[in-house]
Amino acid sequence: MATVTTAAEIGGSARRALRYGSISRGRRRALYWSYFFLVLFVVFFLTPPLYMLVTSLKSSAEIGAVTNPWWVYHPTLDNYAALLGDRQFLTFFKNSAVVSVCVVSVTMVIAVLAAFSLARMGFWGSATLATGVFLTYLIPDTLLFIPLFKIFAWVHDVTGIEFINHWWILIFLYPTLTVPFCTWIMIGYFASIPKELDEAALIDGASYFQVLTRIFIPVALPGIIAATIFAFTVSWANFLYPLAFTTSADQLVLPAGIVTTLIKGDVFNWGQIMTGALLGAAPPLIIYAFLMDYYISGLTAGATKG
């Protein structure tokens, strides 16, 4: 009887030892498979940007030749020189930069003030307004551009100020996309600051504005950086509003400018188009490369902070 139990015990422990071995082996195999599939997905995700880079380094002759499209045999920077020496392209770049900087500043001032008010001060209907902010974030530009077009035409009829076909109209349009989301994530960041901090400051005689600038903005700085990055990315990347509201070549911003001026009828100068696209993608990519953690925290805060 005793021997049987020991045999069973021995068998059990041996089996267990075997199981342990298989778990660690299984883990290692899972790790290899994970790397294998990650490489596959990275290839899928990075193919278009890399192909942009490859094409941008080619001459028109090489693009038209029947060679391996995935490789550059005679790399040249002619496309970059041509675009960066082109006054029109630099105008797009300047318009984009000015519009983005203005939109980001306006958005952040509006969003930070409003988020502070909605997260801390409260007034009649402030809770409804907070929900409303979230709902307006869900209204897409494809729904708004037609009535906005008509409204700006009407403003022109009444005041004589022509908004349509001027690059600065975008400074009025982009906040429809940036303000609701930035306010929403700033509410989340501000709500996570302990109430004791601002109560102590108020008791010491600070005004609300001082509480905001001396306590909330410094403490929620990561959130402010994340919201700023978001506002910049959106206003740099938007394509519908400039396409609908601006048409003259000197009034276009980068994405719309590249698509409408570099594609001329059926003649596609792919080398220049890819170079333009890469240069247009560069500012968001550079910001992302340096501030990736803020970028990601802003992304996840939008849906998780409630």
Binding site: L38, F41, P49, T136, L138
Partner: protein, 309 residues
């Protein structure tokens, strides 16, 4: 004198109450002033235009008189309209499902590898989301080019027949969805990765002791724990995908023969190129019901989360 004393004793209490009320009133007035720019932007540039779109949809082409539902009646009779409805739904639903699946799978792979290397992989995998969609779609357009398609070059070397990527209606639909999945799945990956990190490791250990395999762990632990994030992300993405413009506009511009138009691009074509603003507004309004339904569910989820926390 006695009265004075009594009133002196009473006043602090009264004074404090009045003071508190005036403080709270002061507070709400300042609060309202702080929120005023936001209210102005939302009311003037979002709510008013959205309502105005409804009004525009009831006007005739020259926008001079009221025609009621004539625009909608006209749309219902057109085949193109029903094609756009079908394509929009097919496009949005398929793209969101694939984005969610790819995002879920990639998030698990990233979560599986050692913590040290995760940042690097995550950084590379998020690149499609960072590039402005209009710019990256140009790269896809060039990859799908009819005469110099880099994919067809690979296919030719592998002995696979050539594909008319954007020339054939079915392939064009496939391409539009593929590009959308490419742009959107990194977002799902990031959201799901954040959710995965919040699943307690003890649950996996307990399941491992009970002999659960990896599929059971995902199905019985990860999926239920991540349910809320999965729903919210999918609904968000459904709205954005349904209202997509950039990708379809650049890749196919609705072609071949309007087969890939979605609401956004068709409304643009009608209103800006066709100069029929009321008809364009009517088309874009069809996005509203799905937005409302998705918004309702998102709000419910967000509230639920708020209560749990």
């Amino acid at each position: 004198m006695a009265d004075a004393v009594v009133s002196d004793v009473k006043t602090p209490a009264v004074g404090r109450r009045v003071g508190r009320r005036s403080v709270s009133r002061h507070r709400s007035i300042v609060g309202f002033l702080f929120a005023l720019p936001l209210i102005a932007v939302i009311a003037g540039l979002v709510v008013y235009p959205a309502g105005y779109a409804i009004h525009l949809a009831t006007l005739n082409k020259s926008m001079q008189h009221f025609v009621g539902f004539d625009n909608f009646r006209f749309l219902f009779k057109r085949n193109t309209f029903w094609m756009v409805v079908e394509q929009s739904c097919l496009f949005a639903v398929t793209a969101v499902i694939f984005k969610a699946v790819v995002g879920f799978v990639v998030a698990h792979f990233v979560h599986n590898i050692p913590q040290k290397g995760q940042r690097k992989w995550r950084g590379m995998l998020l690149v499609p989301w960072v590039i402005p969609p209009a710019m990256s779609t140009l790269a896809w357009l060039w990859l799908f080019d009819p005469s110099y398609s880099a994919f067809n070059w690979v296919f030719a070397h592998l002995g696979i027949p050539q594909v008319a990527w954007l020339g054939n209606a079915y392939w064009a639909r496939f391409c539009v969805i593929l590009v959308n999945v490419w742009v959107g799945s990194p977002f799902f990956m990031i959201m799901y990765l954040a959710a995965l990190k919040s699943v307690p490791e003890q649950l996996h250990e307990a399941a491992a002791i009970d002999g659960a395999n990896w599929l059971q762990k995902i199905w019985y632990i990860n999926l239920p724990m991540m349910r809320n994030i999965i729903q919210i992300t999918a609904l968000f993405s459904l709205i954005v995908t349904f209202a997509n413009f950039d990708i379809v506009k650049i890749l196919t511009n609705g072609g071949p023969v309007d087969q890939t138009h979605v609401f956004g691009t068709w409304a643009f074509t009608l209103a800006i190129w066709g100069n029929d603003i009321p008809l364009g507004a009517s088309v874009s309004l069809f996005m509203a019901p799905i937005l409302a339904v998705a918004a309702f569910f998102i709000l419910r989820n967000v509230r639920k989360r708020g209560n749990e926390a």
